[in-house]
């Protein structure tokens, strides 16, 4: 797979950066380097056409607020690695697959279908609002949760970048 406007140096650079970030955060990349580079070409292509790195294996809408859950690493990565040994694209895998003792198998789509996405988002916001207002209104600081890795912190605003998984501020939700 090659795309116009994406050069191989950028792919290699992104590959090295991704590998380092993965290792720092305790994640592993798929041991098939060529497969990973193909996904990176997809990520860079998406960054080029949508201005954010939407998941290469999912159809992005082109509207960032609708696609935040599938900006790589997506909100579903950790659950899929836990349950299936790999993220949906098989970019990130568990130890056994990284070490070659197990093989990647197809991962079913965890993201809700188009028709249910709106309602799901509204529900998530509501739950947080009720929990935050009714039960924990007297906390000295709000608690923020990183939707990518689950990291929690109590402060006025979520951090600019998640110290655990490097997700950006926009991926945090009010937890308490």
């Amino acid at each position: 797979m090659t795309f116009t406007g994406i050069n191989e140096q950028d792919v290699d650079r992104a590959y090295d950066a991704l590998r380092k970030d993965a290792m720092d955060g305790g994640y592993r990349l798929n041991p098939d380097a060529e497969f990973v580079k193909n996904l990176i070409r997809g990520l860079l292509k998406n960054e080029q056409r949508y201005a954010y790195r939407a998941c290469p294996c999912r159809l992005a809408s082109g509207k960032k607020e609708e696609d935040l859950d599938i900006v790589c690493p997506c909100d579903y990565r950790d659950s899929d690695i836990e349950e299936h040994g790999a993220c949906y694209c098989a970019l990130y895998v568990n130890e056994a697959i990284a070490d070659g003792t197990r093989k990647v198998a197809p991962v079913p789509e965890r993201r809700p279908p188009r028709s249910q996405r709106g309602t799901m988002k509204e529900r998530a916001v509501q739950t947080v609002a009720v929990g935050g207002g009714a039960t924990f209104g007297s906390l000295p600081f709000p608690v923020w949760r990183c939707k990518v890795c689950g990291y929690l912190c109590a402060r006025d605003q979520p951090p600019g970048i998640c110290p655990v998984c490097k997700a950006k501020k926009e991926r945090f939700e009010r937890f308490l």
Binding site: L39, G42, L43, L59, A60, P106, P113, R114
Partner: protein, 91 residues
């Protein structure tokens, strides 16, 4: 829709994304098997065309995920399931 020539195994349509690794593997498998098929990269379609394609995908695969391989307008194989694809399209 792009057409790939090969042995006629009925109406074989692959809905794929141009950026997706498993879609690519599925396409390569079909080529390697020498099956005649049509494919479309849904991410490269515009507005209404993309919407129509998504509606068709969701008819066979409610999750609306890729790759979705539709055989004879009745059966869908979702994801790169090599074994299943080989069985369905005989070899």
């Amino acid at each position: 829709m792009e057409h790939v020539n090969g042995t006629d195994k009925g109406n074989v349509v692959l809905y794929a994304l141009s950026t997706c690794g498993w879609c690519q593997k599925t396409k390569e498998l079909l080529r390697e098997m020498g099956v005649a098929f049509d494919y479309t990269f849904v991410d490269l379609l515009d507005g209404k065309e993309q919407d129509d394609a998504m509606n068709r995908v969701e008819k066979f695969n409610p999750a609306g995920s890729f790759p979705t391989l539709v055989i004879n307008n009745e059966k869908a194989i979702v994801g790169f399931r090599e074994q299943e694809i080989r069985e369905a399209l005989g070899q």
